[in-house]
């Protein structure tokens, strides 16, 4: 059973502020969803994790690598990207003090 405290802890981990008044409802909903998805535990057969050799379309997971080359010209996108940041200073995105 998921408690209000569990939800509070998960919300903290996910960096989301949740009103106290919402905690109980959310705990009930998450609990009911987990109850439903828990049915997968009844599926028998341990197939192990998909391995790279199983390839595309077969459920395999593979890394796709590329050479680190042809970088953008410095500053090519700076103006547009900075325009979307909430706070900037001298061509940088400004971050809050953490110390």
């Amino acid at each position: 059973m998921i408690s209000k405290d569990d939800i509070k802890k998960l919300a903290d981990l996910a960096r989301i502020e949740i009103e106290d008044s919402e905690l109980e409802g959310l705990a009930k909903e998450v609990d009911s969803i987990l109850g439903y998805v828990g049915q997968i535990k009844s599926v028998v057969g341990n197939v192990g994790f998909p391995s790279p050799d199983q390839g595309e379309g077969q459920g395999g997971v593979l890394n796709v690598m590329r050479e680190d080359e042809n970088p953008n010209e410095s500053g090519a996108y700076t103006k547009e990207l900075l325009a979307e940041a909430p706070e900037t200073e001298r061509g940088f995105i400004k971050v809050k003090k953490i110390l």
């Binding site: 502020e17 909903e29 997968i40 459920g59 979307e84 995105i93 971050v95």
Partner: protein, 478 residues
């Protein structure tokens, strides 16, 4: 000229033979938008330069250099980036965000000379099946304004159904193109995973997401799919489609009848499905009863893998790089500048209820102690379901189910999130296994004196979209 019956194919002929100008075509849709958008809430924004875009398209046509989509007015879901235009994913956290680059699909459509009418409403960050989770109001179903359009690509489906765009783009993570298409009586294609680049599509479930077209006919669906597909160096999961020679004998369709006995499938859907099966038999298809023993676990697998990926993908919205920023609590020791507080308040205020719920669920299934039981197990069951599909496709060319367990439901009817999730029961499987699937209009249910559209769904092996188009054309007599 009656433009309401117009398809992309027909419009192409009229535009190229100069019987219709791209400008008049754009004006037709702008007029329809003016008349209908207020009631239906389809467009979050109608672009101010539609006529200018149409004029540019007309110049290309006049030079005799028109491509398939030159001058064709399209609606674009609000989670696909068009450089210099606002794009919000129907979320408060991105309400004032302007795209800094073009999505690959947009780049391709611009090269075609397509005209973008505007950005369409959706469930916030594509999380939902009704557009009720939009931060900017629900989209109404044109067949009954008291009912939902479906979702998450509800705006894109209604745009086509209500004739306020010729076709549109949506995105499909668990049925978000097919379900609204079915609720609105139009066609919706979820292509093979990786066939269409995800670059510039706001990520939801990265192993599930794919962009797909919504249109009035199979030919139109095919035209848009061919225009947007292709390998892309900006998306490492994109693939080149192998060109396949269609098996002319591809005439067997499997039906997992055991799925039809589940709870919650409406009688209207069952009846219409049987009629559709009969119709396919009469068209010469062989219908085979198949068994997919673990397909009924697809929804459970989906609601573990998807929130896990959501919780990772949503981490980027932090109030620092772009989007909404809420200041911290000034009464705390670090004051308004407390970074942790900025994160929590920005995300708490900026995300709607369903997005927050899925992030929390995803955080849970990925956390130490629960990872193996939920996420790890879900990956294994995903493999098992994929294998079952591969086995089934040795016997049949396509798999047929209804698209949804019921026609469009009433706005506000499904208040419990789990109940809402069950509407995805038939659609999530194609995303779990990565196969292409299409929803085709198959008739109507009559409820409270209103005709509500129903749809059937065909699923085929990876990269076999041509089989979908082939069967679809026969079924729709196209």
């Amino acid at each position: 000229m009656n433009l309401s019956e117009l398809t992309i194919k027909k419009a192409r002929e009229l535009l190229d033979s100069k019987q219709l100008s791209a400008i008049d075509l754009a004006k037709y849709y702008l007029k329809n938008i003016e008349e209908k958008n207020k009631d239906l809430n389809v467009y979050l924004e109608v672009f101010s330069d539609v006529i200018k875009q149409a004029e540019d398209a007309q110049k290309i046509i006049n030079k005799g250099e028109a491509k398939e989509l030159t001058g064709i007015p399209l609606a674009i879901k609000d989670n696909i980036l068009i450089k210099g235009r606002k794009v919000s994913a129907a979320s408060k956290i991105l309400e004032n965000y302007t795209a800094t680059y073009d999505a690959t699909v947009i780049k391709k459509l611009k090269e075609e000379g397509a005209v973008f009418l505007g950005r369409t409403n959706m469930d916030e960050f594509a999380m939902g099946g009704s557009t009720e989770n939009s931060a900017f109001g629900v989209t109404k179903n044109p067949y009954d304004l008291e009912r939902v359009a479906g979702g998450s690509s509800g705006g894109s489906a209604v745009a086509v159904a209500a004739d306020i765009a010729m076709a549109s783009l949506g995105s499909d993570t668990g049925g978000s193109v097919r379900e609204p298409a079915s609720f609105c009586g139009v066609l919706g294609l979820k292509p093979t995973y990786g066939s269409v680049s995800r670059y510039g599509l706001m990520a939801m479930g990265s192993s599930l997401d794919v962009i797909g077209p919504i249109a009035k006919t199979i030919s139109d669906t095919e035209i848009i799919f061919n225009a947007i597909k292709g390998v892309d160096k900006m998306d490492s999961t994109s693939i080149e489609m192998e060109s396949r020679i269609l098996n002319p004998e591809s005439r067997t369709i499997g039906v997992p009848y055991h799925l039809m006995n589940q709870e919650g499938i409406s009688l209207d859907v069952k009846k219409n499905f049987e009629e559709s099966v009969e119709k396919l038999k009469n068209l010469g298809f062989e219908i085979i009863n198949i068994s997919l023993p673990n397909i009924d676990k697809s929804l459970a697998v989906y609601y573990i893998i998807m929130p896990a990926e959501v919780s990772s993908n949503m981490a980027r919205y932090d109030g620092v790089k772009y989007g909404l920023r809420e200041d911290g609590d000034p009464s705390t020791p670090l004051g308004a500048g407390n970074l942790l507080d900025v994160y929590k308040k920005t995300r708490g205020k900026g995300f709607g209820k369903e997005v927050r719920r899925r992030i929390i669920l995803g955080t849970y299934v990925l956390s130490t102690g629960y990872y193996d039981a939920y996420y790890g197990k879900a990956l294994q069951v995903r493999r098992i379901i994929k294998d079952e599909f591969a086995q089934a496709f040795k016997k049949v060319d396509a798999i047929l189910t209804p698209t949804t367990p019921s026609p469009a439901f009433k706005i506000g009817e499904k208040s419990d999130p789990l109940e809402m999730y069950l509407a995805d029961i038939f659609t999530v499987t194609a995303n779990i296994v990565g196969c292409p699937a299409i929803s085709l209009p198959s008739g109507f249910a009559e409820i409270d004196g209103k005709k509500l559209p129903l749809g059937i769904q065909l699923t085929v092996p990876h990269m076999d979209e041509d089989i979908l188009f082939n069967i679809g054309k026969k079924f729709l007599n196209e």
